[in-house]
Amino acid sequence: MSVDSLFTQPGLYGVTGALAIGIGVYGLIVRPHLVRKIIAVNMVGSGVFLLFGAVADRAAPGPGGDPVPHAMIITGIVVALSATALAATLTLRLSRETGRTALPPEPEDPAVQDKES
């Protein structure tokens, strides 16, 4: 139980990552606008990566650090971008089709229209 480890360089960035995740989760739940939800998810992602980076910096302080988490973070950032691109295009399509930029309050019935002959 080392609270003072929070004030070393890795600990500080770890706490920043944790708080960024908290802010992101809050934004994801509260903000109805879809672009803001995408920003919130990206923020949670960046917070997770910062926390993972702080963990890596503890293993080998100084330049370089532990290369394994760094490689994973690079993979994570690229995956986060692809998810953001898909979410942004879905938002654009929703905005063009229905004019709404927020999710409808309760999941309304999916439009399984009857293909009436």
Binding site: G62, A71, G99
Partner: protein
């Protein structure tokens, strides 16, 4: 090591301020701008933590492409609202903001959100505090077997040799994100040019920038690709820079994006994962395991893989930002 102890707390404080701004600020456009600044400050934080590879990726993808993607999304939403004749004139007048401020949900959801996010943050701060001080890591193992991978930069060795399977799945994830984006086009427009058709004044500043930056970007991209073996850099960062300058040329109306149904474009998309897969399968006879590189020719194989990856990543990222085809195929 902390030559100047005040820098880290200040950087962390500004990062958190930008994060709060990105969530709490009034308008959507300002949130996107705050997020771009957040990405930039994260890149500085990564340099401060000594992770230059991650800083490069965050600067190129986190702050760069994601920011541009969100900016063009906000602009297109404004266009949709204008086409629908909504009250807000697009971007005219003193405080033109495409999307009005969206109302916060009821008190119950807000309090739930506060409690939940506080709980998650507190649990994580506790977890960070509990991490053991003699931190276990894989620095030694990576260093000891680096010579067998034929690459000096440890992160590139991890990305392409030790955990090459992760990177293979990752480029496939990127390709499927693009397929997902393309699947959202209207049927009539399938086969057309991705994204909006761009027009620019031939002798204007936009065209000038479109002619001047791409060569520099190409130079930086090839440089980043080549130093990937020795120093921070590599296929992902190089691909991102190439995608950015390619989009710049497209925005300046100089370069048309090839049609979605074009075979050359599809081969450029598929070449990265295909080369990676072929070399992986060749690993069976050569080295007795999938993705096994015999140490003698490991360096050549890795350069081949990185070259394929750079081409595919540049194409895919460019098309991801350009978005689904909106032009009716001629």
């Amino acid at each position: 090591m902390t030559a100047f102890p005040l820098l880290d707390p200040a950087l962390c404080f500004v990062i958190l301020t930008t994060a709060v701004l990105a969530v709490a600020i009034r308008t959507v456009f300002a949130a996107v701008v705050s997020f771009i600044v957040f990405g930039l400050l994260m890149a500085i934080a990564w340099v401060r933590l000594g992770a230059v590879d991650v800083a490069l990726t965050e600067a190129a993808i986190g702050a760069g492409l994601t920011g541009v993607l969100l900016l063009s999304t906000v602009a297109r939403i404004a266009k949709h609202r204008a086409d629908r004749g909504d009250d807000v004139p697009i971007l005219e007048g003193p405080e033109p903001d495409p999307a009005p401020t969206d109302p916060l949900p009821g008190l119950a959801t807000q309090s739930l959100a506060i409690v939940l996010s506080a709980a998650v943050a507190a649990a994580l701060v506790a977890a960070v505090a509990l991490l053991p001080v003699p931190a276990p890591g894989l620095v030694a193992e990576v260093g000891s077997r680096l010579s067998e991978t034929g690459v000096e930069s440890p992160v590139t060795a991890v990305l392409l040799a030790y955990r090459g399977y992760d990177t293979l799945l990752e480029i496939v994830v990127l390709l499927f994100a693009l397929l997902g984006v393309w699947s959202l086009t209207a049927d009539a427009r399938w086969g057309g040019q991705p994204g909006l058709r761009h027009l620019a004044r031939p002798d204007g500043v936009m065209a000038y920038l479109g002619r001047l930056l791409p060569p520099i970007g190409l130079l930086v991209g090839v440089y980043l690709f080549w130093i990937g073996g020795y120093r921070p850099g590599g296929a992902f960062q190089a691909g991102t820079v190439l995608a950015a300058v390619w989009l710049l040329a497209v925005m300046a109306g100089l370069v048309p994006i090839p049609k979605v149904s074009g075979i050359r474009l599809r081969l450029a998309l598929v070449i990265g994962p295909a080369v990676f897969l072929a070399i992986g399968l060749a690993g069976y006879p050569l080295h007795g395991a999938f993705l096994g590189y015999p140490p003698a020719i490991a360096k050549v194989l890795i350069i081949l893989i990185e070259a394929g990856l750079t081409i595919s990543i540049a194409t895919i990222l460019g098309l991801l930002v350009a978005g689904a085809p909106e032009e009716r195929p001629s």
